[in-house]
């Protein structure tokens, strides 16, 4: 049901989806890595629980924003195999569009609020 959507239809992104995409912007990560990075991005304000994280990933996979890149172990944690995810080109376009949308909104907000204060 999500296949024929144009990128604009996916905006605005929910905060978890937006931050998950940002977490995958530079490198592929496993679930725990994504969760840690999202916490870092938001100064700990957004702690993704297991259900939220994997529910989002499920929908993002279906929408083609991310893809799985197989399982391997993370030597910094333990020898268990973890599923890694990476952003697709579509995901990159979407997160960029969302960032621009937010930047636009912030610009407008700052201008209005500055005016209101003066």
């Amino acid at each position: 049901m999500t296949k024929h959507r144009s990128p604009q239809q996916l905006l605005p992104l929910t905060p978890p989806v937006f931050h998950i995409l940002l977490a995958l912007a530079r490198e592929e990560r496993h679930g725990y890595g994504i969760m840690q990075d999202v916490a870092r991005q938001t100064d700990g304000a957004l702690q993704l629980g297991p259900g939220t994280l994997y529910g989002c990933l499920k929908r993002m996979l279906a929408a083609g924003l991310v893809e799985e890149v197989g399982e391997r172990s993370d030597p910094t944690l333990d020898d268990e195999r973890r599923r890694y995810y990476r952003m697709t080109p579509l995901g990159k376009r979407i997160v960029r569009a969302e960032a621009q949308r937010l930047a636009g909104a912030v610009t407008v907000a700052m201008a209005r609020l500055a005016g209101a204060n003066a």
């Binding site: 679930g31 969760m35 702690q47 629980g49 994997y54 529910g55």
Partner: protein
Amino acid sequence: MTSESGLIGGFCRLYSLLLYAYPRDFRRQYGRPMQQLFRDRCRDLARNPGRIPVLRFAAQVMTDWVRTAVRETAAAVRSEDRHPARRSSVTEWAVTLLIYLFATTTLVQAYVVPTGSMEGNLLVGDHILVDRVAFSDPGPLGRHILPYRDVERGDIAAFLFPEDIRQTYVKRIIGLPGDHIRLDHGQVIRNGRRLVEPYVQHIASYPDPYRDNFPLAPEAGTTPLGYDMFEHHVRNGEVIVPPGMLFALGDNRDNSADSRYWGFVPRSYVVGKPLLVYWSFDAPTADLEQWTVDHVIDVALHFWTKTRWRRMFLVPLSQRALEVGDAQ
């Protein structure tokens, strides 16, 4: 999945049960990584534990669980309209069984009271649930979340009988390590102070110096561990409870085989705290120790009349004894 010892492992098993709230397909696909994520976060927490982070994490996990289980179930129902799939009854039963097994082995356990040593508070034939979490030290992390507290004087406790650990006894804890204890005419004197025990019942028709003026000297009823107590832990006519041990007496003080006869209860033998009476059936001791055909027939025929309905869901309580003045 690598095995994890101790509390984190326990929480992960608990979390794996929570996963059954999610639709089957979602669970199959993401159950394992979700458990991994949960465990990784538990490990994070174990590295710098504290009450606030642990509680915050627990709250987060619970809200995350409720919200997303609802959301995924709704999503599954919507897509099921298109391709219907049935959850088999085998799965349903397996889940029920799993929860049951987990609950009965880890959280509560059912026991029956076969003797009258706690009479007044627990009757012969009371079937009780024992809270196994209450008195079991859950370690540095769990201490902040689980309803744990150490055994105190006046608590009723279920414990393994030191002389035969296949049996479980229920008695009241009278002495903690370091306490000096003796009985004077059936009254307990603890650390030089006479106890007034509201929960005790005296039914003696005959005096028994061993029982009422403990500790005098070992006699026929004293077990090997009882002898050991007399030999090593009696000084100036008082028993001194050694470290790591407890002194337990029955509420039915004149008709109770307790620490007076078989010595101390090791703290590690304590199983838990009686939670409630879930069924009370008037039957003789022998029937309660082992199910016999006669007993089954008795229950079948007299279930309604011999069940003591008024005892249903009764909660056996810890009670403080009053300490009055100095004895002598």
